[in-house]
């Protein structure tokens, strides 16, 4: 029934605060052609295209997939858009996966992107809040995650220093990644003394806003055997995209219940019982430093409440036992639309052994995570170099 699916190529654009050299379709074209080239296929080999981008107000064009249809390779092909907020990159990758897993299509291009420099980012993000109930005081994503940070830090006694460490190591990792925007050499003190943007979140604990796009090529097992046996591929071993509500009863932002479930579902699909041991590398959607710790807990890399201890132990660093975000993570570049797909792309590069300077030696199994909405959508994809 379920067909095995592999990623045979990935593409990322150069990510910058403002890509003044291209319009949004141009950005998509860059990512799509990079992915096709990496996969060694042409558009003729692509059976369907699935597009993803975050809220339309970012570009100020409704249904931007229509605008980008040709540039994303969708001319006279199946083409539609997925939009799940921050997770959209991952949801689009997952949609690409289901296209092939269903048996409907052999080879599918999934492409995502956003050009955040076109509009006013925080103004657009504030439209995620209910107009009659809370939009008036919202400050985009920072104020939402600030609430999460407050609850998490208070509940588990996580210190500001522990949070700052995440901001430091991610930017350090970013120095190995040509696609990262913020490649910084920071100290914990610098992070802690950077100005607050929405307490307890400080400027250096927040992601930048970027222009960029990413794309992936998925294909079937049969196709890999027939045509692509000679190259490294990343097999998709487990996927899950779980949602929780916004203001449901007994909610605590310190407890990422949707992520706990999504991770379990994905682990079950690929027989992972001890993620800390069985995963070789993790790419997570850490838009703010504190989320590095929360998501690590949600993914089962440590016990609940032990995120602080985990980062203190150095386990998440490049030389630790579970390297996280070799790419520099979302803290180093965030296009929102493509961000969650970049996590999947980076995870694939790791298991394909194509991650260059940011390669975790011998990485066989990697996990990519995404979050979105009002901290309510969670996605997990596990990829491996073996079927």
């Amino acid at each position: 029934m379920k067909k095995n699916v592999a990623v045979i190529g990935t593409g990322q654009t150069i990510v910058k605060m403002r890509r003044e050299d291209v319009d949004f379709p141009g950005l998509c074209f860059e990512a799509a052609s990079a992915a096709l080239q990496d996969a060694g296929v042409t558009l003729e080999d692509i059976d369907a295209v699935v597009f993803g981008s975050a809220p339309e107000y970012f570009e100020g064009v409704n249904a931007p997939e229509k605008w980008c249809l040709e540039a994303s390779g969708g001319y006279l092909k199946p083409h539609f858009r997925v939009h799940t907020g921050g997770t959209v990159g991952a949801s689009t990758g997952i949609a690409g996966y289901y296209h092939v897993a269903s048996g409907m299509y052999d080879t599918v291009l999934a492409i995502t992107g956003d050009k955040l420099s076109e509009g006013e980012l925080q103004l657009c993000l504030s439209t995620v809040y209910d107009p009659v109930f809370g939009r008036d005081f919202a400050c985009g994503a920072p104020s939402a995650v600030a609430m999460q940070a407050r609850q998490y830090q208070a509940k588990y006694g996580i210190t500001d220093e522990q949070v700052a460490k995440a901001a430091v190591y991610n930017r350090k990792n970013a120095q190995n990644n040509p696609y990262a925007q913020l490649q910084l050499d920071l100290t914990v003190e610098q992070v802690l003394s950077s100005p607050p943007i929405s307490t307890p979140i400080k400027l250096l604990e927040a992601c930048p806003g970027s222009d960029g796009a990413a794309a992936m090529v998925f294909t079937s097992e049969d196709n890999v055997k027939k045509k692509y046996a000679d190259r490294p591929v990343a097999w998709v071993k487990g996927v899950s995209a779980m949602a929780e509500g916004t203001m449901y009863t007994y909610r605590s932002w310190a407890e990422p219940i949707a992520l706990l479930t999504a991770a379990q579902r994905a682990y079950y699909q690929c027989g992972i019982t001890n993620p800390r041991k069985q995963l070789d590398v993790v790419e997570m959607y850490n838009a703010f430093a504190v989320q590095d710790l929360i998501w690590a807990e949600g993914l089962g890399l440590c016990n609940r409440g032990d995120g602080g201890k985990l980062i203190d132990s150095g386990a998440m660093y490049m030389d630790g036992d579970i390297p996280c975000n070799p790419s520099g993570g979302v803290l180093s570049a965030n296009t929102i639309g493509a961000t969650a797909m970049v996590r999947q792309v980076e995870a694939c590069l790791q298991v394909m052994g194509k991650a260059d300077k940011r390669q975790v030696p011998g990485a066989k199994t990697a996990l990519a995570h995404g979050w979105g909405g009002a901290i309510q959508f969670q996605t997990v994809m596990v990829v491996s170099n073996r079927l």
């Binding site: 403002r18 003044e20 050299d21 291209v22 319009d23 141009g26 107000y57 100020g60 001319y75 076109e118």
Partner: protein, 146 residues
Amino acid sequence: MAEAKIMDGNITVPYSWTTGPAIGAFLTGMRDDMKLVGVKCSKCGQVVCPPRDVCPKCFIKNDDYVTVGPAGTVVAFSVIHLPNDDQPAEPPYTLALINLDGADTNLVYLLGDVDPDDVEHGMRVEPVWKEERYGYLSDLKHFKPL
């Protein structure tokens, strides 16, 4: 049931849209030289105006810019009577698909200096430029009958 309660509001966002090379060349040509720039696909040879960076059919990047028009032929038109926000003129006004000379595709543009009742398929039109031009589509006031 309680009386329906409504909140009237709006979302207003300012933008600075990046044109990309092709639309940039198009708007620059209009502003500086009052000319209409198209792009010729290096593979299929189609001349597209307004130009696009990517040929939809060939999926390749194009930068072979050519000048088209300025005159063209009306291939389809509609007289817009319905008033709405952000329209290019007071209704009734005429929008047309104009096949510019030398282009293989059509430009959607406003017709002027003509009674809507007199517009015909196949009518020849030419652009009327504004005195002050800023690199926006509105630098071209409208097309009028030749």
